[in-house]
Amino acid sequence: MARTKADLTTKLAGLDLVNPVLVASGTFGAGREGSHFVRLSELGGVIVKSMTLTAWRGKPTPRMCETPSGMLNAIGIQNKGVDHFISEDLPWLLKRDATVVASIAGNTVEEFVKVADKLRTAKGVAAVEVNISCPNLEDRNDMFAHSPEATAAVIGGVKEALPRMPVFAKLSPNVTSLTDIAAAAVEAGADGLSLINTLMGMSIDVESRRSELAGTYGGLSGPAIRPIAVRAIHEVHSAFPHIPIIGQGGVMSALDVIELMLAGASVVAVGTANFVDPTTSVKVIAGIADYMTRHEIASTAELVGAVKLEG
């Protein structure tokens, strides 16, 4: 069998990435924490912890609990705010040649837009991921990603503030019709979609009869949710084949990355797996190359949405 070295470089909404592997927001800090284990420049990109207009303290503890093949978290987007990101984290990341995706969050459309405004002038941000789907904020009904209108309002506003920046809308799987929300985001100008964020869950300690999270509900992540992510990506990619997708949800291995790409993701972010093995993101890169060589696939683009369906 002729074996050519697989070419892992990947295009994503106009960006050139060294490979299709990123780390997911909130699971590798601002990159600094993960850099004990991984050379950040070897990754396709680093999606930093979501940042807000001012610093957020987050929720009280306990903030997480383990569940079968997964975990629940209710962090509440504890972060030091966009200014701290621009002055401290961004220069540090750029010095290490990381491709930086800034994840932004907020409680109002205005907050999102103000954060986006600040990022416009910050040199070196490659793309923005708009976290409209964090299920950990106080009021479930306020989740932007649950309504096409609210999704459009946020994405429209952010895109106006950042006309030249690739903007990804990060969607929540906790909806009846993901394609409706995706359509709203795309029409409002999203250059791409990011899916999935965590699923809303709860866990009770039966001995104390208390919720295991101080925040009552939390977001379920990890391998347990991978089948949901694959379905969500496949559903949205089938409806919008030309919109690039940052796939995420339960990726633990190179073959899981391939699975999400076959479902329709252009690139894949490693999330909870970073906690299990902080070197996961670099380890999977070699595995992807190996798979591509084995299957004689010349470029990562050939994988995207390449699942074969029956009849």
């Binding site: 924490e33 284990f37 009280p60 503890t61 306990p62 504890q78 705010g81 299990v276 093995d277």
Partner: protein, 310 residues
């Protein structure tokens, strides 16, 4: 902090309840400081995906041999049950050593080590190092019952003065460590207290030390998802100096137990705020966590690992 594989050298038992694993992992062993911990991965195909954190109980350097670390634990759930079944020559996957360990006294000092149950684990490594550096070590060790006192033989060997307490009176004084703490501090001329154990015990120990204006360092155990500073699950509410005009009650930050701790100044932790009671759920502007140990002749904790993304 790094990820490495370790080979189990020995699996021992201490008392009725405790298991000990001595692990050959030269890089991690050589870097470890008292108060730091290691995170151990369970099986690859386990439904429990997260690592389990354990304090470094002992570090052994042996002549020309690779240095080893020892951890001790009791069986609480699936993870510790799995570890309790490991035998010599098994290989495990470790991240560590992690976190800010105990700050050693700058000058010769009388140190009192206070431990409760399995929580006393990191105090043994600390006692070894304190004695190596010429400090005096005293011990107060408590547990529910005598079989749950961690390695009392070594306590006797390491301590100038020691007190044991058990809740059922089966060994030492009947009661809790806090019942004999003030008296022991008095008797030993204690200049600094190092404590480790359940949160209520650490809160009470900190209270007593603050009353007596004795510096107190505590090693906390919080639920951890990542164990290396990335996820913000393991936070402790810690007081920082209020900014000008700020209400001191607002000058509280959530600092990460894994990398800003696990050793904190007991006087700066908002004890009632950890666990189930929220400190303040509103979101407000924060400055970087300030978790310095009060200046009392002890080294200031340096801020080089200051939380970047928080």
């Amino acid at each position: 902090m790094l990820m490495a594989s370790g080979e189990i050298l020995t699996h021992k038992r201490y008392g009725d309840a405790y298991h000990s694993l001595t692990i050959v992992s030269p890089e991690i062993g050589e870097q470890a400081r008292p108060g730091q911990f290691v995170s151990i991965r369970l099986r690859e195909d386990s439904a429990q995906i997260l690592r389990r954190p354990f304090s470094v109980y002992r570090m052994h350097k042996r002549g020309g041999w690779a240095s080893t670390i020892e951890i001790v634990f009791d069986i609480r759930g699936a993870g510790t049950r799995y570890l309790s079944q490991l035998r010599a020559h098994s290989t495990i996957d470790i991240v560590g050593p992690t976190g800010r360990g105990f700050v050693m006294p700058k000058r010769r000092a009388h140190c009192l080590l206070v431990g409760g149950g399995i929580g006393a684990a990191p105090l043994f490594f600390l006692a070894d190092e304190l004695r190596n550096e010429g400090h005096r070590v005293d011990f107060v060790m408590g547990a529910r019952t005598s079989g749950l006192l961690l390695n009392p033989i070594d306590v006797r060997r390491l301590a100038s003065v020691y007190r044991m307490t058990t809740e059922d009176g089966s060994q030492g004084d009947r009661g809790r460590v806090t019942d004999v703490l003030a008296e022991t501090m008095e008797r030993c001329g204690t200049e600094v207290v190092y404590a480790c154990g359940p949160h209520p015990m650490l809160a009470a120990v900190s209270e007593i030390c603050m009353e007596r204006e004795t510096p107190v360092q505590v090693a906390v155990e919080e639920l951890m998802a990542c164990g290396y500073g990335a996820c913000m699950t393991c936070v402790m509410p810690v007081r920082r100096p209020p900014k000008r005009g700020e209400d001191p009650a607002d000058a509280v930050v959530y600092a990460r137990a894994c990398t800003d701790g696990p050793v904190f100044n007991g006087a700066s932790i908002v004890w009632h705020g950890s666990g189930t009671e929220p400190v303040a759920a509103d979101q407000q502007e924060l400055t970087p966590a300030n978790v310095a140990v009060r200046d009392t002749g002890l080294d200031e904790v340096e801020d080089e690992h200051a939380p970047p993304g928080n």
